[in-house]
Amino acid sequence: MKILVAVKRVIDYNVRIRVLPDGSGVETDNVKMSMNPFDEIAVEEAIRLKEAGTASEVVAVSIGPARSQETIRTALAFGCDRGIHVQTEQPPEPLAVAKLLAGVVAAEEPGLVILGKQAIDDDSNQTGQMLAALLGWPQGTFASELVIGDGVFDVTREIDGGLETISINAPAIVTTDLRLNEPRYPSLPGIMKAKSKPIEAKTPADYSVDVAPRLETVTVAEPPPRPPGRMLESATELVQILREEKGVL
């Protein structure tokens, strides 16, 4: 079985986000970029399935500007076999990404596509579900466990208040939640090998997809600041304030 994993280049989760003064977006120049953490989990899961002999090949695909290739290279260093880069000027919206991925799926015919449940930049949580809809495939979203059977995947899903298990037919879409696995760090030999692995260059035109945004970003703003806090002397004082002034106890 071939597995396709989708990876996105995002601002590193440890970077403090700065909103641009003109409200057009957030600062990305000279900011550390990394693979979206949920996509790392997707890559790790695919690599484990390859190591277990379940997957025959793992292909990493990224959609975005030229430097998205760095993110594909990271996926290759983890152990993915090859990459596909669909180059766009800006990262497209989830619907356009899903359409491009549907094009990649049509060409590659994987048995399983694993994606992060959401990207930590726009926090949309849409692409996997949209891809499943476009392909008419079942979806195992927010997965915390994935068991591969004969033509079926048993997916344990993180839902509000607990867990749910569904059984879905192959081919299918799985999106990752935090508990699915703990991603490894790429090894030095892995990083060296990644340099010679192939990355195929594609454009939206190759898949006849219009990536023009449907949403217009009117403005991006800082959230309202929190009022300055107060240092207290004792636990008793704290309890009194929380109970009497704030009424939260």
Binding site: A132, D160, L215, P223, L232, L249
Partner: protein
């Protein structure tokens, strides 16, 4: 343009997120219909018809309702969505699973997790885990939207008397099957829904020391969370994690114990109404977002708080 609210249901109780979504819907347009996709739809439909302002309740039927699978529900929502300008659902895991499938079938770009309505085309939503707020305008003819439950008041009920009509028949497709659901049987509230959250960080020193927080949580009816550092150190499981890569919470009271306040943790809790930080390092960044701070030994302060209650 009329609004269709796709209701998440729980028997006769409509969850808070659904009630908040109806409030958001009424802020967009007074013509609000509620679609109930529940095997035991009579109870939920009855509850929905009692909500003030709801015009009508559409009760779906059919074998595809069992198991709550997006593969079955999405085509029914698409069918019901004809003649509506908006399709709204709560942004819990149920709505997050279902609605993008609906949006893609309608060929529209969903607007996720809105916290404010500017006008009929324009909405505010948090991005970067709430570190920035994006105002977005939709050009799509049908707007598919998920609503952050904590950002809108719950709709008033009872008092309404909306008619209940029969809606789409939901077919069961065999590509996906429900197996089982295991809801947490903890006496403590769920992290994302708790009114009070107490989280521990690396300063807790060990997993055993989290019992200190458990004891305080039991007194307060609070949920217990943790920073990524505490999870990485192996003190507690990953599902405790509050932060950008964990759960985003916004309780009435958040107590951060032995947490320095890494950016990725702050992203997961800084919308809490009241934040208390307890840390031995007075320079810890957590104090910059805290409303109240206590500098000192958490092993002394936490029991003192429990005693003072």
């Amino acid at each position: 343009m009329a609004v269709l609210v796709v209701a998440e249901t729980d028997g006769a109780n409509l969850p808070r997120g659904t009630l908040a979504t109806i409030t958001a819907a009424l802020a967009i347009d007074p013509e609000v219909d509620v679609l109930v996709l529940d095997e035991q739809g009579d109870e939920a439909s009855g509850a929905a018809s009692g909500i003030v302002g709801v015009r009508s309740v559409i009760k779906a039927g059919g074998p595809g309702l069992a198991g709550n699978l997006a593969e079955n529900l999405a085509p029914a929502v698409v069918e019901a969505a004809r003649n509506y300008g908006y399709v709204l659902a709560p942004a819990g895991t149920w709505g997050k699973n279902l609605m993008p499938r609906v949006a893609a079938m309608l060929d529209v770009q969903q607007i996720s997790d809105i916290t404010e309505i500017v006008d009929g085309d324009t909405f505010i939503r948090p991005i970067y885990a709430g570190n920035a707020l994006a105002t977005v305008r939709s050009r799509d003819p049908v707007k598919v939207i998920t609503v952050r439950g904590t950002a809108f008041a719950v709709a008033e009920a009872p008092g309404g008397s909306a008619a209940i009509t029969a809606g789409p028949e939901v077919a069961a497709h065999d590509i996906a099957r429900f197996v089982k659901r295991e809801l947490s049987q903890s006496d403590r509230p769920e992290l994302a829904a708790a009114r009070i959250v107490i989280s521990g960080g690396r300063g807790m020193g060990s997993g055993e020391n989290f019992q200190l927080l458990d004891q305080l949580a039991d007194k307060l009816g609070a949920a217990v969370g943790a920073s990524r550092a505490a999870v990485d150190a192996g003190y507690v499981p990953n599902d405790f994690q509050v932060g950008q890569t964990g759960k985003v919470v916004a309780p009435e009271l958040y107590i951060a114990v032995g947490i320095s306040g890494a950016i990725q943790h702050l992203a997961g809790m800084k919308d809490s109404k009241v934040i208390v930080a307890i840390n031995k390092d007075q320079e810890a960044p957590i104090f910059q977002v805290a409303d109240y701070g206590l500098v000192g030994d958490l092993f002394k302060i936490v029991p003192e708080i429990a005693d003072a209650l």
